[in-house]
Amino acid sequence: MSDIKGTENKGAVAKDNEEKRVGVFVCECGVNIGGVVNTKAVADYIGTLPGVKVTSVNKFTCSDSGQADIQQKIKEHNLNRVVVAACSPKTHEPTFRACIEQMGLNQYFLEFVNIRDHCSWIHMWEKEKATEKAKDLIRMGVERSKLLEPLQASEVPVTDKALVIGAGVAGMQSALDLADMGFQVYLVEKEPSIGGRMARFDKVFPTNDCSICILGPKMVEVARNKNIKIMSYSEVKAVEGYVGNFNVKVEHKPRYLDVAKCTGCAKCSEVCPVEVPYDFNEGFGTRKAIYVPFPQAVPLRAVLDKENCISCKACAKACQSGAINYDMQTSYTDINVGVIVGAVGFKTYDPEPRHDFGYGLYDNVITAMEFERLLNAAGPTGGHVVRPSDCKEPIRVGFVNCVGSRDKATNIYCSGVCCMVTIKNAQLLKEKRPETDHTIMYIDIRTPFRGYEESYNRSRALGVKFLRGRPVEVKEDPVTKNIKVRVEDTLANEIRNLEFDLIVLATGIVPHEGINQIQQLLKLSKAADGLLMEAHPKLKPVDTTIDGVFLAGVASGPKDIPYAVSQGSACAGRATILLKNKKAITEGITAVVNPEVCVGCQVCIPMCPFQAIKMDETPYLNTGIKKANVVKALCKGCGTCVTACPTGALEQSHFKNNQLLAQIKNVFKFQEVAA
């Protein structure tokens, strides 16, 4: 116990006895600042503040001559703190940090004051008040600058191996690029085969290529690549560590057969008596309880679905290589990687629960993905599009766009690809069976990329009808099972009652169930739409807020195939920077614990979304108390733990309590005596 504040105060910042010599550089930014703020008056005032050794006004401080002025004055006045009053630190902080670092000053000895965006630009007609405000802002900065402490960004070694989660087209591309650059890649896929969603598409827009025909060779390429270790039918269960040194636990679900022995001959399937709906075909048709996922699967191995297996052991008898093993257990592999690429994919919106447009109520309302499987030659109907109610080939087909997209009730975002999917699907059926009649009901048709608009035009030329309007009523004729649609044609401005044999819903893109688990494992941010967040939507589209973790594909927002593939390559490129340099620079601004003050109460631990705070294993000195410790490589420097810490033992470097308080205190000044 002691009084409220004794001077033998362990928490007090060690007195830094170095004399603070501050230089203040006021930028006029042409007339952007100089036209409003009286920069000379400001500089004169700031020059009277204790510790300020020199002030300077420049037309453009960021220009070469402006920077030269700073460097010269650092030399001349032996400055150890530099305050630049100019634009936003987001614009030029890095510029001036580099500028003073060249002069041997720690880059964190720069204080950047925003007197343009936050002052001259918003007080254009209040020149005096703007000038006073600029004085306040710079005074705040000067006092803060005196308390700034040198920081060093630290380096951590990087293991030159990568983990790619998700072997869809984006993940495969990433894995291939990384492998081709010579790095070992673990490619983890939760399904029994790699390939992802693209393997299920019939044709891809706008060229209408056969999807598996172009994907298949890529899948084989992946399988053949010596640097890629495919872990199919596997999931990431735990991720610990940080950039350069992630320890990952991968769970391998049992296939109940020896992958090394299985040849993928599918003899086992032939004898299996159990039939279940075939998920690869969107539930159309059946597969056996033991099956090869699809003919082009990689690895081309069977998998036994234990849930539906009746243990008749017919397959074991049929298997010539003796691969079947009913006792197989879940197994785990621990891997150590330097970087992680998350290409965890998506699912399509499920209209079933809400019965959008009668889906789930009426047999002849299906989704685009289901339609896609019906079109596919390897699909359940051998490529014949039939309607579910009577297996007759439909003539009048209605397509409804934006199901589960652009709708406040479901998802407000545009899924981006559905317009083209619908156009492509209508085209394909029309080409196959010209007698069919297609109507696409849309809100807007969006065809932004190369060849898309052309594809749209081709559809029109083929006679596909486009009707701008969203069905307001969808009813089934109880006898014919035809679907009657009431829709407002908003271009013609009339209500139309149409009858279709089949309705196809262009369901949107939504995050799949596994995304939460991945988000938690990798400590990623999630946006309000439920999809993962990139570090910066414009400038860091494949980075995340976690160093060494990158995102490719639809998990971070709707994308078409070329976009997803580019992202896969982009991730590989970004990751290679770390893998090749074999080191990562971690954030200089982090939380820091003062063990003298910490009482080990642990309230900070759950505050950290990055699990960067760990308790020491042994008590600190002779206190008997285990103290908190920040793992710098994991800390992102947000400072929320610092706010929660009741003792003040946790501090955020560069945003220390005393630095922020110095700013706050200098917002105010003594009123001058009225003359």
Partner: protein, 153 residues
């Protein structure tokens, strides 16, 4: 030029007492919002001094109290919209801390206008400017803070 900007010269002439408002902004959203307000030239009263922190979760009640005790007529706590936090969930934690702050302020009898929370994204420059305009007008009506030390402005 926006309508607000055009109206600004008239507002400037009214003059009178200018409150001092301390606004805490997070680096990624609300500070950017303030920048956007500047880029859009959304004119605002010269009442506000912004303190930048990396995340609104770093806005320590300690700093808010200190701002009031030093003489702030109002203190604004701002950050990213819920769900948009650059650090996963920093602003959820801000919300909790703010709840406590609000309680202390209310029990102390500090008018609710003097302590406000707002989520402003980096693109919402106009929202930021409107917020500052509104708060300043409210505070002008209320007058100086009862916690302002004597002789301080």
């Amino acid at each position: 030029m926006s309508a607000e900007a055009a109206a600004a010269p008239a507002a400037a002439k009214t003059g009178g007492w200018e409150p001092k408002i301390v606004a805490f902004c997070c680096n990624w959203c609300s500070y950017g919002g303030a920048d956007s307000a500047g880029m859009g030239r959304f004119q605002q009263p010269a009442s506000t001094r912004i303190i930048r922190v990396m995340c609104s979760g770093r806005i320590d009640p300690l700093h808010v109290f200190n701002a009031f005790l030093e003489g702030a007529d109002a203190v604004l706590v701002t950050g990213c919209h819920i769900g948009d936090c650059h650090y996963v969930n920093g602003n959820d934690k801000t919300k909790i801390k703010y709840k406590y702050l609000e309680n202390v302020a209310r029990e102390l009898g500090i008018e609710k206008e003097r302590l406000q929370l707002n989520w402003i994204s980096a693109s919402e420059g106009e929202k930021f400017a409107n917020f500052i305009r509104d708060v300043t007008a409210q505070i002008k009506k209320l007058g100086p803070s009862p916690l302002k030390p004597e002789g301080v402005a």
